[in-house]
Amino acid sequence: MDIKLREVEYSYAAGTPFERQAIMDVTFTIPSGQYVAIIGHTGSGKSTVLQHLNALLRPLKGEIEIGSRTIAAGRKGKKLKDVRRRVGIVFQFPEHQLFDETVEKDICFGPMNFGVSEEEAKKRTREAIGLVGLPEEVLGKSPFDLSGGQMRRVAIAGVLAMKPDVLVLDEPTAGLDPRGRQDIMNMFATLQKKNGLTCVLVTHSMEDAARYADKIIIMHKGQVYRTGAPRDIFSDADSLTNVGLDIPETVRFQRMFESHLGHPLDKVCLTPEELAAEVSRLRGEMT
């Protein structure tokens, strides 16, 4: 299921003296099955775009195609339930949304809300808890007795249990320790590759965008500033610093190395592993 935004515009508090334009003329495609990262400075419009991806916000101008549905400005959107089920959003600090007595009830809430039977919801809950790497024992516990990292996973399981086609992640690892961060990011990458889920990652981490994304969209002042493959995006440091973003650590280090070498390497390396292999290959060639 592709998601296409065409010339989308949105303002908060439209028609009041407090009106503030958040995004304008936003056009891009999230191709089915791909991992897309949306990056941009705080206030660049990332979160506003994100809320359009499952019609939580409706465009004031332009239109959004979500699979076979079109959400256009000025038209009333009806029966959006199916869109919301197919595009699951994991908001920032999703553990703040946990509310039920037990982990099982909390995860079942979403699917049952979309009309799934209790039996089926429980089955999905067990699957989802496994996907996020928690043992089934936690199902009977209160979500509030879990650690922060575990609560985050339960909240994510709640979205996965709705079996979305598209998973939208808003800074999903903020506040987690490095291992928890890595585990969760690897989990999303696996879901995207093995289960064919489309992933949209909104992040401040250039390292995560470089490592995981097939496509990057840079937002700046409410507009799309650039889109492209990570290697293209990160090979041009100046265009990033112009909008208050940085190149990933690996690329920065590669540039330092190239200044000794006197010429650039064949490609921009996106992960430290890739750079180490490239430097090693180069030494093999030179000796």
Partner: protein, 279 residues
Amino acid sequence: MKEKVISIKGVSFQYPDQEAFALRNVSFDVYKGEWLAIVGHNGSGKSTLAKMLNGLHYPSEGTVSIGGYALIEENVWLIREKLGMVFQNPDNQFVGTTVQDDVAFGLENNGVEHSAMQERVFASLEKVGMTAFLNQEPHHLSGGQKQRVAIAGVIALRPDIVLLDEATSMLDPLGREEVINTVRELNENEGLTVISITHDLEEASRADRVIVLNEGMLYTEGTPERIFQLDRELLNLGLGVPFAVQMSQLLTDAGLQLSRRHFNEEELVKDLWTLNFEK
């Protein structure tokens, strides 16, 4: 000999209804004017320790002394005057409707006179670079600005020690930088003792000294340079390592020569060049 402002001796702590101890036989001192980072994975005992230092928990075993007062119920208000805390979530620590009201709140509670209060509110906001926002509503500020106001609220009470409990973990990279720089200035210019509880390695690497907690126990302590030399050990503890350390390891694994594991990227790149490419 450096002056001790906090002394923790053989401290253990167990939450009611829980079998495992959250802290086990932890001992260390904090010295006046230093910046101490306490790192550990989620569940390592960091937050329990933070709550103890502010008198929200008392040790099940062992003793804690803060600013010369033993941590017992009678002293808790004296201790809270000595040690101010900045919490994780910038939105959970505002009470005032404007920035200056918010900073004044603690002073009002302590019965500071109005004229002195105005002076102290302004001076505190000056120290965190937020005087341009005196009459702004806190919810209009960015995350980094909110945390700076929270710090101003704490330093207006003139504590000897400020404890940051994951105070930058909910901020974007710029906000984090703002807050860390503010804390660094207060530490250097005002001699404020800083304890930052964090799993952000960038933040920990700015500290004078780092303590690593693991499963409720003090695992090791030392300068950031020394701690980050532990590299794979840190990964096993659920912590990350700085980029240069990680890169050193990967380059060595790929068969390149390095004189040692580097903490600094410039030194690493020079070493890599000299030992492998220079003819």
